[in-house]
């Protein structure tokens, strides 16, 4: 059993608090992604779990054991670094077996476990090479192999794919997912890339400025963002977010344009409330070119001028001008459009979001 439990975990450097007493329960064999912009405290949190940073307050339990003051080696974890951190003076084989050597494992046990790890990751051909003779993707695999060999309770990944090019990143992402299916350990994965988080994790923890904004499954954080920040962070292209005021059952935007107040928010708002209206590009589309949500009654149609288009092959991102700014929409089964064309656009208001302008919290719940 390797549950990980963080209670009121705090990190301070001098007078500056970086992580503000976060709480998080991670189940055994769960794949958790910590995601957020740079400086949000996600890497610091990971390094505190690893024991590479002292904690300033709170508690860390791994597998039911409090590890607050234990050195990294006593926590039975392994970590894959963003920089890979392979030992350059050792061959791949020695890199993989280093932790076993330090632990004083028997030679044949060591050989067997190195062979197992190298088979899982396809490193057999590379065992006698040094890290300098490997490509980026191969180094990444060796770094993961070094983590597997230890058979740890918890795997920690610190932005492991950010140094790879886009194609290799997609490929390694799949490998990490397969790896988790094989080794079935608890994984804590730090990334700033929301696509990695969405595709890999069982649950996503979205952090901002040392606080947890939301914890949820990929579907939850995408469909029911708890805050305006989460709504803007998750999803690509990002959600359209615009400030508005509630007035007579309508949302009036600063430029004077307005939309009907989505029905689900009728009881949750009062006239004069300042809110932030959010709609994903998938729910705002050229009429006839979107995903139907089934809530036809809530679709609001309007004719808008196109300001720019970004064709992606199977779909086109259409930037339509509304309330004086560009709103991005996703056009499925695209047809050619050019700037200045006026087209019918649909707002699927049943899937729209409202956040409090003051607190940023979702008004859905």
């Amino acid at each position: 059993m390797a549950t990980v439990s963080l209670k009121k975990l705090t990190k301070r450097y001098g007078n500056m608090e970086i992580v503000h007493g976060i709480d998080l329960e991670i189940a055994d064999r769960e794949f958790i992604a910590l995601v957020g912009p740079s400086g949000c405290g996600k890497s610091t949190t990971l390094r505190m779990i690893a024991g590479l940073e002292d904690i300033s307050g709170g508690n860390i339990d791994i597998g039911g054991r409090t590890v607050n003051d234990l050195p990294p080696r006593s926590r039975n974890i392994s970590m894959v670094f963003q920089s890979y951190a392979l030992y350059p003076h050792m061959t791949v084989r020695e890199n993989l077996g280093f932790s076993l050597k330090i632990a004083g494992a028997a030679k044949d046990d060591m050989d067997r476990r190195v062979a197992e790890a190298s088979a899982i990751l396809g490193l057999d051909e590379l065992l006698e090479r040094r890290p300098s003779q490997l490509s980026g993707g191969q180094r990444q695999r060796v770094a993961m192999g070094r983590a597997i060999v230890r058979d740890p309770d918890v795997f920690l990944f610190d932005e492991p794919l950010s140094n790879l090019d886009a194609k290799l990143r997609t490929q390694m992402r799949t490998e990490i997912k397969k790896l988790h299916a094989k080794v079935k350990s608890t994984v804590i994965y730090v990334t700033h890339d929301q696509v990695e988080a969405m595709t890999l994790a069982d649950r996503i923890v979205i952090m901002r400025s040392g606080y947890i904004e939301q914890v949820g499954t990929p579907d939850e954080v995408f469909s029911r963002p708890a805050t305006r920040f989460v709504a803007g962070f998750i999803g690509s292209p990002p959600m359209n977010l615009h400030e508005a005021t509630v007035s007579d059952g309508r949302l009036v935007f600063s430029g004077g344009d307005s939309l009907p107040l989505p029905g689900q928010f009728n009881s949750k708002t009062a006239a004069g409330d300042k809110v932030v209206f959010g709609i994903r590009p998938d729910d705002f589309y050229p009429t006839g070119h979107g995903l139907s949500s089934g809530g036809e009654a809530e679709v609001h149609r309007i004719e808008l001028p196109v300001s720019i288009t970004e064709p992606l092959g199977n779909e086109t991102l259409v930037f339509a001008e509304f309330n004086g700014t560009d709103w991005v929409s996703r056009m499925l089964n695209p047809k050619p459009l050019k700037a200045g064309d006026r087209i019918g656009m649909s707002f699927d208001l049943s899937r729209a979001h409202l956040f409090s302008a003051e607190t940023g919290k979702s008004l859905r719940n």
Binding site: A50, G51, L52, P71, P72, R73, I77, S78, M79, F81, Q82, S83, Y84, A85, L86, Y87, P88, H89, F98, S99, I102, A103, R130, P131, S132, Q133, L134, G136, R139, R146, R150, N163
Partner: protein, 288 residues
């Protein structure tokens, strides 16, 4: 002649010119050394001749034989000097490198109050000419009673070398990514093991160069040694060279022979250590 043939010819001519100029440059660099070796093998008349005699007429090992012949037969206590030089140089090098490793590591890895000031202070000590310190040092040593002792010389040389070894080793530890020591700790190492298993092997070229520099500084140092040593108890080889000067004469041949005896261990050591000087070992550790 077609274009390719003429390009080929130009390239060959350039290669030849390149090699000839390299040879001339090396000749200029090596000439003093060669001259010392030649002078140790021929009589003073020939050494002092004007115009100079380039090709030795009479070659003999007399100077070397005399050097080891003992007092009274033109010999000097060369074995004592050699022993002193070796003890003083090796001990002070080992101490200076040990302190340099500890200090260099601290400067490279840790943040502490007054760090840059301390580092600057260490560097400033190098701006004081050693000879300017010899008189104060002499008085101090006399009071302490460590004049003409190994320990006195070792202390002086450690102080001379430590700023340099710290500076050099600091630079090499900075090149070893911090992630490596952290990865080693996650892999089960203590802080101490992580240092010896991972960081030390990667900084070894730097530590080896610091060691060579420290050793050669001690081995060749004359100014301080000539003030702080008195007898065969502690006189080092460079000071021993003075034994060949008398009131009215200088035995140039003997002096050159002793110089050759001094050069050989230094060359041998440099040769042995240079294989550790292979740089670029850290490549491939991290992204790149």
């Amino acid at each position: 002649m077609d274009e390719n043939a003429s390009a080929r010819l130009t390239r060959r001519a350039l290669t030849v010119a390149h090699r000839v100029s390299l040879f001339l440059a090396m000749l200029v660099i090596c000439l003093p050394g060669i001259w010392i070796v030649l002078s140790s093998l021929r009589p003073t008349v020939e050494i002092m001749a004007k115009p100079p005699v380039w090709i030795p007429q009479e070659v003999s090992l007399d100077a070397y034989i005399a050097m080891f012949s003992g007092i009274g037969k033109g010999g000097i206590p060369v074995l004592d000097y050699f022993r002193n030089s070796l003890i003083i140089s090796v001990t002070s090098t080992v101490i200076a490198v040990a302190i340099g490793m500890a200090g260099g590591y601290a400067f490279a890895r840790y943040r502490f109050r007054g760090k840059s000031g301390m580092f600057l202070g260490l560097m400033l000590t190098r701006t004081v000419p050693g000879i300017a310190l010899s008189l104060p040092l002499f008085f101090l040593y006399v009071r302490l009673g460590i004049i003409d002792t190994h320990i006195g010389m070792i202390l002086a040389y450690v102080a001379l070398n430590v700023p340099f070894t710290i500076w050099l080793i600091d630079g090499f530890f900075r090149q070893v990514p911090k992630d490596l020591a952290e990865a080693a700790q996650i892999d089960g190492c203590t802080r101490w093991q992580a240092f010896w298993q991972v960081e030390f092997p990667l900084a070894r070229p730097g530590i080896a160069s610091a060691a060579i520099f420290a050793f050669l500084t001690c081995w060749n140092e004359f100014a301080l040694a000539s003030q702080l040593t008195r007898s065969v108890n502690s006189k080092t080889l460079p000071v021993g060279l003075l034994d060949y000067t008398a009131e009215f004469t200088i035995d140039w041949r003997g002096m050159c022979a002793l110089a050759v005896v001094m050069i050989i261990p230094a060359l041998t050591l440099t040769y042995i250590v240079q294989k550790h000087l292979v740089g670029g070992l850290t490549s491939g550790a991290v992204k790149g």
